[in-house]
Amino acid sequence: MVRVLLSIFFLNNLFGASQDPTYLVFNHFDKEIPDAEKLLIENFNDSKFEFDASIKDIFSDLDSYDNPASSHMEMIKDLGEQYKVNFILLNKIEHKEDRFILDGLLFNTRSGGLIHRRKINLKHYLNGQINELVMWVGKTLGIQQQEWQENRESILFSDPESISYEKTPMGAAIRSLIAPGWGQAYSDKKVSAGVWFGVEASLSLAFVLSYLNYDKSAKGFLSNSVLYNGTDDEKLVAKYRSLAETDWDNHIIYSRLAIALASATGTGWVSNSIHAWIFGPRPYTNIYQEWDNSSKSNKG
């Protein structure tokens, strides 16, 4: 069961007499991070912290708004008034399998807007949550320590040439070029994959049926034309001419339809591949290398 840890702490500036900006900080963690508060206090020892778990959830629906930056302006302003702070800092840490996602948001209580956001998605980063948390908090406070940077750099690739991606946009594009929708499925966009596959399959089927009808009509026209030219019987001439004219009209209609459908199929196929490339999987956070659990450790 996912456990959400909510804590609120006030940085020293909140109660300090100086004119420095003051911050209200919310920590939302889906799993308990041992010593998180303690390490924050240690790393920002000029700060005064207060912890409160009374607020269960806040700004969780941020990404559902067209403009997240201005989605909760009134609430931010109210909180600013209530706690007498200049900024609100929200730190969310969510774990997915062997990854953790740190989503940091900094709000200005005067405008109520989101002024800075940092989202990090990392894998096999032992105890990296604390290091990334303090780096994020430190960045908002203008404090950076060499140790934090070195910890992060230790997981970065020293040789960019050795970077290999699990999934790439090109991989998605190639797959979609082979089979429409495959690239989208490869990018975990199942609905999009189904739509593309369905559309392309329908167009292809319609094209094949049109072509088969064209072929049948064209052969019928040629056959009836031969019969028409091969008889001197007035009634048969009229009959074969009528059949040939019907087949001729059909072969024109189905030919145009087949060409239109082939164009749509081809265009759709290429578009599907381009779509797969555009919306293909891309690393939106830092590039990482696997953490060696046996030899590395991390401290905030």
């Binding site: 190639i174 070029l177 082979i178 072509y211 064209y214 064209a218 026209f221 040629l222 034309s225 028409y228 030219n229 008889t231 001197d232 019987d233 007035e234 001439v237 009229a238 001419r241 040939a244 004219e245 001729w248 072969h251 024109i252 030919s255 087949a258 060409i259 082939a262 164009s263 199929t265 081809g266 196929w269």
Partner: protein, 187 residues
């Protein structure tokens, strides 16, 4: 490699698309009233079937002489005289037979005869003289003209409308409005 496979698919798609050949609608059977009408040949018309024949030298060639009426015509005829001109440098007359149109009536076979001038003109005559079958109407096959090919070349066989005549049972003349020749290619 996968790209090449897909280019093959797109190439296949293009091949299929371009294989959608559009045929020209060309109805030109001389027995077809509408085809003749499209060519400005009005009915009743004297035509030959088929319109073109290609044979080898010394082979026999058969040409059908056909009268074409409007499909809705009820006009009947009791006698006719066709005058046919043919290229005697390429063909020599073998024989002439009455066509199915005037012989398949179980009631009566008309008087059928022809005259060849020894050069290049044939006159064909057909008359219904019976009391049970006096006339017929509609489009039909009047005569088969059979030639022997004697040299190579291309020429045509045609009607001389000035000498052609068609009459009703009461001797009223039916005006012949059009004619079509036939092309003969001997190789």
């Amino acid at each position: 490699m996968k790209f090449i496979q897909n280019y093959k698919f797109l190439f296949l798609l293009l091949v299929i698309v371009f294989s959608c050949k559009l045929y020209k609608k060309d109805f030109d059977n001389p027995v077809d009233y509408n085809a003749n009408d499209d060519l400005g040949i009005r009915a009743p018309a004297l035509v030959f079937y088929p319109k073109t024949q290609t044979i080898n030298q010394n082979e026999v060639i058969k040409i059908e002489s056909v009268i074409v009426f409007h499909p809705d015509s009820l006009e009947s005829f009791a006698g006719l005289h066709f005058s046919v001109q043919f290229p005697n440098s390429l063909l020599e007359l073998d024989t002439i037979k009455p066509g199915l149109f005037i012989t398949d009536t179980s009631n009566s076979t008309p008087l059928f005869t022809y005259n060849f001038d020894g050069s290049n003109q044939i006159d064909i005559y057909a008359y219904f003289l019976s009391e049970t079958k006096l006339n017929i109407e509609g489009t039909g096959h009047i005569a088969d003209i059979i030639f022997n090919s004697i040299s190579t070349g291309t020429d045509s066989i045609y009607y001389d409308l000035d000498d052609c005549q068609m009459i009703k049972i009461n001797d009223d003349e039916i005006q012949i409005m059009g004619k079509r020749g036939a092309e003969i290619i001997i190789q």
